[in-house]
Amino acid sequence: MFTNLTAPFLGTPTGDLIIAAIAIPFIASLIIPLFYKFPNLREAVTLIAATLLAGVTWSLYPTVAAGGQPELLVWSVAPGLDLAFKIEPLGMLFGLIASTLWVVNSIYSIGYMRGNDEPRQTQFYVCFAVAISATMALAFSANLFTMFLAYEVLTLSTYPLVTHKATEDAMKAGRVYLVLLVGTSMVLFLPAILLTWATAGTLDFTPGGIIKPDALSPLLMGGLLALFIFGIGKAAVMPIHFWLPAAMVAPTPVSALLHAVAVVKAGVFTVLKVIVYVFGIETLTSTTANEWVVYLASFCVLMASIVAMNQDNLKARLAYSTVSQLSYIVLGAALATAASITGGALHILMHAFAKITLFFCAGAIYITHRKTEVSQLDGLGRLMPLTMFAFLIGSLSIIGIPPLGGTWSKWYLALGALDANYQFAVAVFMISSLLNIAYLVPIVARAFFKPLPGVAPGEKVKIAEAPIACLIAISITMLGCFVTFFYADPILDMISLIDFTGSETNTTAIEPSGSTIATPDTTAAGTTGETPKGAINVR
């Protein structure tokens, strides 16, 4: 009966590492409940798992940086539905970010959850580990099916985290979260995958894309792209963004790692992968199916910032800021040039460090002083100088001020906009920077320079900072904002290994070091075999 029962399990060293990356957090999630009576042991499990995971992902990095793309076909579920993993540069980057920040976030979580005396901490750590496992699987997925699977598991495993407080509000938010994320993925993303399968006959992420420019009518091509863009609800493109502010009822570590890094980045990462490896940037630019996404994403970038300005609740403001920043990446993907996608990928990294810092700060403020609204933060900088300083640094990175990482992503995104001949998108990035100032910087100004209520201006106040675990985490991510400015070159090198055209032999400009990437002239419809005109130097 089961003639093909021998599993096509290609056990290679890197393959084992891939499995380990997904299995470590998952196994941790099984071990954590055993120690529910011993919080120290329980947290130790989380920390050990996080460290191990980071070690595993980092040990994969040299291979990918050297141009290798470890692959692993775990299982063939059905024809076209392979459970397979393949680490290409984008996935490696995302995996590194998520796994590394999990370590930091775990430290922070310990401080936060204990400092706040939260109930159901075991459940919290279990779900968190599962979510990370799903994130890793998503990062390393080799095809749309595996990605979709991981995407759904990620949604479901974070639902209990969103509803952690179990209040009526939390339940309501959880409903919005679940219905919007699962709903869009089922109603739009899944049909998109189906259509892709029906059109291309494969779901594998393939350099240069799998959908040929003439495979679909222009209308269908745009429609398919729309299914993906809106179906990937985690990317929070308006109007599918409501879940993100709603999800802010979750404890802050969840907001910090999941709703500023893992979950939302999984969304935009998926968008990037779809654009690069499913459509292929040539297909998109030659059919101009991406045009409307450029406008939509631009609108989201600005609109979400404006909405953010009107939020008094700190976490809500940060959430809308995230919506805006995610649209940067979507915009980078939609511009569909090598540089813009590089910028988008870099922004996944840069925004991760900056936003997680901001959320850490918001959480620190909450557990130490029970302040949740921006208008309550007067003079708080005197009580929490380190926290508010970190908040400033995170804000500046988001604005894109050197020497902070956010500069580079903006640089490459804007370069990409120029390459794609969308000058207005450059303006969008620039105006958005100013809007970022308008909603982030006043928080710092208020905290440092407004008088503390009930305290005379000159009077000495006792510093009341967050628990030390929180401070450590905050400091690490804050420093990360700097480090990613000065030492992001390896990341760039790795991203530049992406083969955008899918015809390696064609693009002779690719050097082993990946210092240049050539894409055929966007208007030349990319006839293969022809030396690309107007080769674009990304670097």
Binding site: I306, N310, L396, I399, G400, I401, P402, P403, T407, W408, K410, W411, A414, L415, L418, D419, V426, A427, F429, M430, S433, L434, I437, A438, V441, P442, A445, R446, F448, F449, K450, P451, P457, F486, A488, D489, L492, S496, S515, N537, V538, R539
Partner: protein, 564 residues
């Protein structure tokens, strides 16, 4: 590597240590050492391009030493030292650190050889300087600082956009002469223009400087605008459009400087006017003109710093800098008054004071290049400076009839800073070669000719006469506490209304849409519940007969359909 470090970074790194130093004395000594060390280091650097490095695939040239950068770097370092001395009495490490980072980044920007490094320091000046404004702690300072920051960073992002386009078009990042023919060139000019307070882009200066702290304003007055002058001199020398821009700056600010009541604001407008002179000089573009612009920037730094210091001391002691509340302080603050007068004389370009030796270069250049109207305009503005800055500021602060409390003499460190600055103002006036030898272009110029001295004295004295007579006959506009409309009106009144209306419209549509969705959803819910709920058609238990009936209906339908 060690000799490829940008001197600006030395200052910045030093600044970062400041908060961690205990005790005011140690901290003060360390802060004094910072600009001195940087200056000593700068002296050891040979001319040339250094600090090549590759960052994120971009070829950077982080250190460029040539005459133009050296003269600005030197004067910036001197001003840093003076600023540090002036602020020594402060216990607030935030201001010290911010001020030093600000100075360091301006110095770094001057020595930047490429656009990315320039952009790096350009933004850093914006971010660090805003703390000097916020440190006042008033509501006004917070909002003015925020507006300042937005505009400054706005300049940065426009610069970034221009640089990106430039990079894409030419493939190079080297910061050299630019053209305004192209979009990137224009964008970069606008970016520089914002920091240089071009007309209509200038109001951030007049708003923010008077809102800053006493010491902050002094530091602020030095760097941002002069950095912009430097970049213009490097990138846009000889760009004709700068001439009318410069003349406009010089002239329109006269009105505001005459009318303003807040003396720091008077000085701010006056500063813009003097910038106009430099901008026009750069626009003229001849060797003489460029030298003039650079020299005037150097002198302007000194005498405006001195004037801001003096008024700052007054503010420090009396709590106000409004002309209508001051007066008669010459008795209680004689030294400050003296220094203020020296600054005023330098500003008025009286012979043997700093302003004289630099302004002459620009006017001569305008004359030689045959720009008659520009020359006349600058000359008129120069005459007006005598009134609104050289006479009005010291007069209302120190010599007019006292309107408020008498102060006490400024703290020693302030006096020391003022004294040193005053000495430099006179020194340069007396011995211009010290400055001339540093100027970027090779031109011989002798300011001290009889003709020049006489004509300049005529101009100054008759301007003074005009002031005296105007005052005498009640024609001089009264100094009143008031708000003068300026270009910020556009975004502070109609702009804000527009934003509010847009926001109201947004929230209105939002509500309508959200309302629609909620209502629609609730309607759907109720309709569905009506039909599918436990008591609904599809949810309740049907009588057996009805079941049979529907079975029959289906059978009938299928059979009938079969025959169709």
């Amino acid at each position: 590597m060690t000799n490829e470090l940008n001197p600006g970074l030395i200052v910045i790194l030093g600044a970062l240590l400041v908060p961690f130093l205990p005790g005011r004395v140690l901290r003060g000594a360390f802060m004094l050492m910072i600009p001195i060390a940087a200056f000593a280091y700068l002296r050891t650097l040979p001319m040339g391009d250094f600090g090549q490095m590759e960052l994120m695939g971009l070829q950077l040239q982080t250190l460029r030493i040539d005459k133009l950068s050296t003269v600005f770097g030197t004067i910036f370092l001197i001003a840093t030292l003076l600023g540090v001395i002036y602020a020594l009495h402060l216990g607030d490490w935030v201001q010290h650190t911010a001020g030093l980072i600000y100075a360091g980044s301006a110095i770094g920007a001057v020595f930047a050889g490429d656009f990315v490094t320039l952009f790096f320091f350009w933004e850093l000046t914006a971010i660090s300087s805003v703390f000097l404004i916020w440190a006042s702690g008033t509501a006004n300072a917070l909002s003015a600082g925020l507006r300042y920051l937005v505009i400054q960073v706005g300049s940065g992002v426009i610069l970034l956009a221009g640089v990106l386009m430039h990079y894409r078009a030419t493939g190079t990042l080297t910061f050299g002469a630019m053209s305004t023919e192209t979009l990137p060139g224009t964008l970069i000019l606008i970016a520089f223009g914002i920091k240089c307070a071009f007309p209509l882009l200038h109001n951030w200066l007049a708003n923010a400087y008077p809102a800053a702290t006493v010491t902050g304003t002094v530091i602020l007055s030095v760097f941002t605008t002069k950095l912009a002058v430097y970049t213009l001199a490097r990138g846009y020398a000889g760009t004709e459009i700068l001439i009318p821009i410069g003349v406009t700056m010089a002239l329109f600010t006269v009105i505001y400087a005459l009318l303003e009541n807040d003396l720091r604001r008077v000085l701010a407008y006056s500063l813009i006017g003097q910038l106009g002179l430099m901008v026009a000089g750069i626009g003229i573009g001849s060797d003489l003109a460029i030298n003039g612009a650079v020299a005037h920037a150097a002198c302007g730094i000194l005498y405006f710093a001195l004037l801001f210091m003096a008024i700052g001391a007054v503010l420090h002691r009396t709590g106000t800098a409004h002309a209508s509340k001051l007066g008669g302080l010459a008795k209680s603050m004689p030294l400050t008054a003296t220094f203020a007068v020296i600054g005023a004389l330098a500003a008025a370009a009286v012979p043997f004071f700093a302003g004289f030796i630099s302004k002459a270069l620009i006017l001569s250049a305008a004359m030689k290049a045959g720009h008659f109207w520009a020359w006349a305009g600058l000359l008129a503005a120069g005459a007006a400076v005598v009134i609104h800055t050289a006479i009005k500021v010291p007069y209302f602060a120190f010599f007019a009839k006292a309107q408020g409390e008498p102060g006490t003499e400024a703290p020693a460190n302030m006096l020391l800073a003022m004294g040193l600055t005053a000495a430099l103002c006179i020194g340069l006036g007396v011995y211009p070669e010290a400055l001339y030898s540093m100027l970027p272009r090779e031109v011989k110029y002798q300011p001290y000719t009889t003709e020049h001295i006489i004509t300049q004295l005529q101009l100054v004295c008759f301007a003074a006469l005009a002031f005296v007579l105007a005052l005498r006959f009640g024609l001089f506009p009264a100094t009143t506490r008031a708000t003068l409309l300026d270009s910020d009106w556009f975004y502070r009144v109609p702009g804000r209304h527009l934003a509010m209306i847009a926001n109201r419209f947004r929230s209105f549509t939002w509500e309508v849409v959200a309302d629609g969705i909620v209502k629609g959803a609730s309607k759907t819910y109720h309709a569905l519940y009506h039909h599918h709920g436990p008591d609904g058609l599809f949810g309740r238990t049907w009588p057996t007969g009805m079941m049979a009936f529907w079975t029959t209906v289906t059978l009938g339908a299928v059979v009938i359909l079969s025959y169709l």
